[in-house]
Symmetry: C2
Subunit: 295 residues, 2 copies
Amino acid sequence: MSAEIIDGKKISDDIKSELKAEIVRLKNQGVVPGLAAVLVGDNPASALYVKMKAKACEKIGIYSEVIKCENSTTHDEMVDLVSELNKREDIDGILVQSPLPDHIDEPAITVLIDPGKDVDGFHPLNQGLLLAGRPRFEPATPMGIVEILERSGHNPAGKNVVILGRGFLVGRPLSVMLSTKTRLTNATVTICHTGTPDISDYTKKADIIVAAMGKAMFLKGDMIKPGAVIIDVGTNQIDDPDHPKGKRLVGDVDFDSAKDIAGAITPVPGGVGPMTIAMLLKNTVKACKIRNGLI
Amino acid sequence: MSAEIIDGKKISDDIKSELKAEIVRLKNQGVVPGLAAVLVGDNPASALYVKMKAKACEKIGIYSEVIKCENSTTHDEMVDLVSELNKREDIDGILVQSPLPDHIDEPAITVLIDPGKDVDGFHPLNQGLLLAGRPRFEPATPMGIVEILERSGHNPAGKNVVILGRGFLVGRPLSVMLSTKTRLTNATVTICHTGTPDISDYTKKADIIVAAMGKAMFLKGDMIKPGAVIIDVGTNQIDDPDHPKGKRLVGDVDFDSAKDIAGAITPVPGGVGPMTIAMLLKNTVKACKIRNGLI
């Protein structure tokens, strides 16, 4: 038996269509959501991400502005830039692309962003509201995982969910989100990590596994329960002489062995990745609505 | 075999002695930690808690001030009071005793407290720093649980820990704290709750169980693994005709059946309870040191 392949691209396209329709309604009320993305230095991956985000904004009618800064930008210049963006009426969301150069204190910049414009959900105040059970902006990747589970019909409520990885971006916030009592979460969640003696002990009993520890093809078919739902958050480049480019992108799941045991699985690419950008757009529209008193 | 009874009273007394010695050193530098507790209305349990906290402060040399307000105090008057306390140089910690009367917006008051004086660790900013892995003030009860495990020699690192209850005060922050990679945490943590189909499935495999769901004597001996460490956070009053007062205090653990199976167990009272106040004092001393540039 081969698993259902969960199409993150299709689901994210559906979400973007819904947002596009909503933005048309907002524009009819004279409101245009705006996102500013700040890119410092010339990291090619960062540049690509920012470009993709800007393009996604434009496609659905969000005003997008990309601010490119030299690698030599000082911490104080970043402070001034963020302060300016905080003040601007036309900007609802501020995104500072990570990582910043070492000479800039990244947590200090994150905390400076107006929490009402923190569409990445990384400001400690928004993280705290999440932990307190009163979320405003949830971080995009875990938010995308909850949404992909819902829209693919794999409601986690009452399920045994195992998260691999306790990172700040995915594992930790996701564990809070999935174990909260809302319509579609309410799961029993375990976080496994490098300090877990035998991860298979946990994964073999899980109904849903989210692999987000950043180890290429870590989760194999013999570590999962037949019929389990597998969400793969990893994006790792590995060498592959058979591939035209000599390398290829793989997840934290060994897709080939897992797909024969799992009930459903997200591919890499085309699974969680496209959901992350869709959630950033969703948060931007939400920020705009909150700032304009529409929710 | 009968379990080791973990003496929270003794451990908290040790901590208070250490803090007392530290406060003497601070006073020699001309610094006196100060805690202000705000009590609104005439809830007898709240009045008792505040009195106990004030007494504990005085005993170890923390300046303590209890501000009693009428039940009719308005939200705006609370805002003014907290703003005043935020400004006062002699006050390092501000504690607003929960619950507040319904006509006061409690989350709005919590967020108004200077995060640098939030010794309860309930301000969303401090909750967010906790979730982000950069804690400043951790909430007192989960902090007391981590400390009681450490000081009783039951290091959770590498252990299977099951937390019963996903509350804002204990379960959720504790799950984050215990699964973080620090010297003594680094555990594999599962949170169970009312949405968990069979809690015994999880508790029977746990090396450490923290019961914090507020159900009198829920965790029985036959739900635990022989030798497990049991931390009981519950405080429930039940009717007991054999007791002189006709009622008595019990935890979330059925102590009598659990103590024959467990390896170690905290009693109620005398377990986690005294630790909570000790941690509040510890946070107050920490706040004072941070505010005076001493850490």
